[in-house]
């Protein structure tokens, strides 16, 4: 039973355009959501997070949107850069993020120059 789903295994975008990565979750107890970025042979690195009390959080080129009624979140990267090419994992947690993270399977983003 996958509680966090990333239905697109891959996404290809032109440099300068917007990248939109999607994530759905099933457990209504999740109240904290995170995006991690992973390069090959490295551990995931934290990118951005959002608490369920918000519907949007922005950090530079990265914005995360949360739609609680739809149990859906998305990560927008604009403008996309070739260095953004990586695997992006969506993760969810309970208790404000103090519990274990439940991860999706990841979306491989390729930004073409």
């Amino acid at each position: 039973d996958q509680q966090v789903k990333q239905n697109s295994p891959s996404l290809s975008v032109q440099e300068g355009r917007i990248s939109i990565l999607n994530c759905d979750y099933t457990n209504s107890m999740f109240d904290y959501f995170l995006w991690y970025k992973k390069y090959p042979a490295e551990g995931p690195t934290f990118l951005i997070s959002i608490s369920s009390i918000k519907d949007k959080n922005e950090d530079g080129r990265f914005t995360v949107f949360l739609n609680k009624s739809a149990k859906h979140l998305s990560l927008h990267i604009v403008p996309s850069q070739p260095g953004d090419s990586a695997v992006y994992f969506c993760a969810a947690s309970k208790q404000g993020g103090s519990e274990k993270l439940v991860f999706g399977k990841g979306t491989k983003l390729t930004v073409n120059p």
Binding site: Y36, G43, P44, G97, E99, K100, L101, K105, G106
Partner: protein, 116 residues
């Protein structure tokens, strides 16, 4: 460095052998997690240590897996009688709980385990 470190970076072993994977957390981080990523899968939670509390072992796939955290610092994940399906990247993450608004987990580079 100041990050989470893991050793070894790569481990190749024969089926049936035991392996130990080590995680050195960021100083001051009270929470430590082990995850694994099998080929084509997301990160799967294995075990969680928080301070002096009893660990959450709910993610361990079988009794061949165990983990310790000595002195609230270094952690060792042990896999006994390894099987080919144990082949994966094993990731350690640590966390310094600050508040409900900020709970980033910092990951190490992982140990790639290959069971022949």
């Amino acid at each position: 460095g100041a990050g989470v470190s893991q050793s070894p970076s790569n481990k190749v072993t024969e089926k049936g052998k035991d392996v130990e994977l080590r995680c050195d957390p960021i100083s001051g981080h009270t929470a430590l997690y082990w995850y694994r990523q099998s080929l084509g899968q997301g990160l799967e939670f294995l075990i969680y240590f928080q301070g002096n509390s009893a660990p959450d072992k709910s993610g361990l796939p079988s009794d061949r897996f165990s983990a310790e955290r000595t002195g609230g610092s270094v952690s060792t994940l042990t896999i006994q009688r390894t099987q080919q399906e144990d082949s994966a990247v094993y990731l350690c993450a640590t966390q310094r709980y600050v508040s409900p608004a900020y709970n980033e987990q910092f990951f190490g580079p992982g140990t790639r385990l290959t069971v022949l």
